[in-house]
């Protein structure tokens, strides 16, 4: 098998075009439909280039207050989850790894659930304190869970990949039990928030949330890009990476932290969305290359595109009601994943994607 030597730049361009198209579609389609011309008009009005007209008021308000933040939130969440999946697969040198595997997603969910159930009115999402309470507790939960998994799986300063996977399963189970218990004892209003949010939703997206996730993602993404080379070296094994001048232990800890921040911020805002981090890197490897210099930026682009498309589907399928995002990603992701597994079985010992 020969791998085509087309330039990476061409692929990035292609992905970027797909992203733009899907963003426009996502901004346009829904309970309200905005044509590109209409969107341009709204932008012009809000910038003062053309006079605002009264009939446009409602549409403009919906577009800027509801639709646009939602579209951006979806894209950012998709990018964050895609990059996170890539990072984790690099860390574990295993393509069957999810951002939620090291306990990150479920820890974040538990942290947020604590606020929902025990916070009461004072810490509700829209109160002044609540604005920070949910993301902060989500960070804390994700971080605690991830660090616990790391502690359990590292001895004598070295991280054992298999123990990490098993510890992740255990910590996930504990966090899921915690969240389940909280939703069980929750009096009605809080329980509403947990069940709805735990399936993944962009419905409640607003500019504040977009800023939070946007800043976290941007910072973490830039940092992650700097680790592309060491991640490639890590593919050969920890010893080989050390021989090539990397510090595998420090690398692992730093990447875990970057990953935790991204996933926690995303989970705090949109709930638990599965399979994105699993499927995006797979698709990109099959399409093109397993090198992290390519995968990291490409997974951000493709993840954002996928999420924008999924969001459109969520809005259309049972309009005017909406389907939770997590359900759609599971419906798409699980069969794709099974197909990948079967393909791998048939290939036998040719390695992944051989």
């Amino acid at each position: 098998m020969t791998i085509a030597r087309r330039s990476d730049r061409t692929v990035y361009l292609l992905l970027a075009l797909c992203l733009v198209a899907s963003l426009v579609a996502s901004a346009s389609i829904g309970a309200f439909t905005f044509s590109p011309a209409t969107m341009a008009r709204y932008v012009g009005q809000s910038l003062g280039w053309i006079p605002a007209s009264a009939p446009d008021a409602l549409g403009r308000s919906v577009f800027f207050e509801l639709r646009l933040p939602r579209v951006l939130m979806g894209a950012l969440a998709g990018a964050a989850l895609g990059v996170s999946g890539t990072l984790m697969q690099g860390l574990f040198r295993n393509p069957i790894v999810e951002p939620g595997l090291a306990g990150t997603s479920s820890g974040a969910a538990l942290g947020a659930a604590l606020v929902f159930v025990l916070g009461g009115g004072a810490l509700s999402f829209h109160s002044p304190a609540g604005v920070f309470a949910v993301p902060l507790l989500a960070f804390a939960g994700a971080f605690a869970a991830t660090m616990l998994v790391y502690r359990i799986s590292s001895s004598f300063g070295k991280v054992n990949v298999f123990t990490l996977l098993l510890a992740g399963i255990a910590v996930n189970a504990v966090c899921a039990a915690g969240t389940g218990f909280l939703s069980y004892i929750a009096r009605d209003p809080q329980a509403r928030n947990i069940t709805f949010w735990s399936l993944g939703t962009f419905t409640t997206a607003d500019w504040r949330g977009v800023w939070l996730v946007g800043v976290c993602f941007a910072a973490c993404f830039v940092l992650a890009l700097g680790y592309a080379k060491p991640l490639n070296a890590l593919m050969l094994g920890e010893d080989e990476a050390a021989y090539l001048g990397a510090d595998p232990q420090r690398l692992i800890v730093r990447l875990l932290i970057v990953n935790t921040v991204m996933v926690a911020a995303t989970t705090a805002m949109v709930g638990v969305i599965a399979f994105v981090g699993l499927v995006i890197p797979h698709v990109l490897r099959m399409m093109r290359s397993s090198s992290y210099t390519f995968l990291l930026p490409a997974s951000a682009l493709l993840g954002a595109t996928l999420m924008a498309v999924v969001d459109v589907v969520a809005r259309l399928v049972i309009a005017p009601a909406e389907l939770p995002i997590g359900i759609i990603t599971a419906v798409i992701g699980a069969p794709v994943f099974l197909w990948i597994l079967l393909r791998e079985q048939r290939q036998g010992s040719a390695g992944f994607y051989g």
Partner: protein, 260 residues
């Protein structure tokens, strides 16, 4: 030159290396020999600087290796392991390019790509540079790893000291690859390059090596420059076999025969 001074290594309660002192000179193909469990691989890992000895010191041309920064060290020192796992389908050239990582920041320079090509030519894998690594045979993969390792310490400044370590690089490979890889290694002998190889096949070792260190239970049993310097009874004791030298009629070739 790589020097081990009074090096001991203890792990899990067992003493694997016991007060070993040895010098590996540049311009030689130094070979470490010994039965399984003698401590060969441990010795090599200590010599590469990857692992710290429990006591004693490892020095590169006088400098303690523990004090060297990882990245500059990586530009001068490379290790070819027995078996490198790579589960993802990278093209061969990209795998070799990884050897240049210590040498560039974000993007490789044109010189790096040239070195990759040269390294592939040296090992005879240039014709497969665009092929996926995972489709290669075991012997081909090991050649590609060798190319990577060579690319790592490839230097245009011929006065810079370099260190190459080979840890049983031909394990499980057929005779063609065994010989080819060792031939390349032998061709690298030069005044600046210190080569240390752990080999398991005595005849191959004696054919290609120029300095031999025989380990027995964590200690050096004997050091020699030629196979003639090693008495047969030492081989018999260390490897627990019956050994005898066989010479060709004109005494030009010699090899060992073993029986239980």
């Amino acid at each position: 030159m790589v020097e081990l001074r009074g090096v001991s290594y203890r792990a899990g309660g067992a003493l694997i290396l016991d007060d070993v002192s040895v010098r590996f000179e540049p311009g030689q193909l130094n070979v470490v020999l010994g039965p399984n469990g003698a401590g060969k691989s441990t010795l090599l890992r200590l010599a590469t600087g990857l692992v710290r000895p429990t006591s004693g010191e490892v020095r590169y041309d006088g400098e303690p290796v523990a004090r060297l920064e990882p990245e500059p060290l990586a530009r001068r020192r490379a290790v070819l392991s027995q078996h490198v796992e790579l589960a993802f389908a990278l093209p061969v050239a990209d795998v070799v390019l990884m050897g240049r990582y210590p040498h560039y920041g974000r993007t490789p320079h044109p010189r790096d790509r040239e070195i990759v090509s040269s390294a592939l030519e040296l090992v005879g894998m240039a014709h497969k540079r665009d092929q996926a690594y995972t489709t290669l045979s075991g012997g081909e993969r090991q050649k590609v790893q060798l190319a990577r390792v060579l690319a790592q310490i490839w230097s245009d400044d011929s006065r810079e000291a370099r260190y190459l370590f080979l840890d049983e690089p031909t394990n499980g490979l057929d005779v063609h690859y065994q010989l080819h890889i060792l031939q390349v290694a032998r061709g690298l002998m030069s005044p600046e390059c210190t080569i240390v190889a752990v080999l398991h096949d005595l005849n191959v070792a004696f054919e290609y090596g120029t300095h031999f260190v025989l380990l027995e239970n964590g200690r050096i049993a004997i050091e020699a420059r030629t196979s003639a310097e090693i008495p047969a009874n030492v081989i018999e004791r260390v490897f627990r076999v019956r050994a005898r030298r066989v010479r060709s009629a004109d005494h030009a070739e010699e090899y060992w025969r073993f029986d239980l």
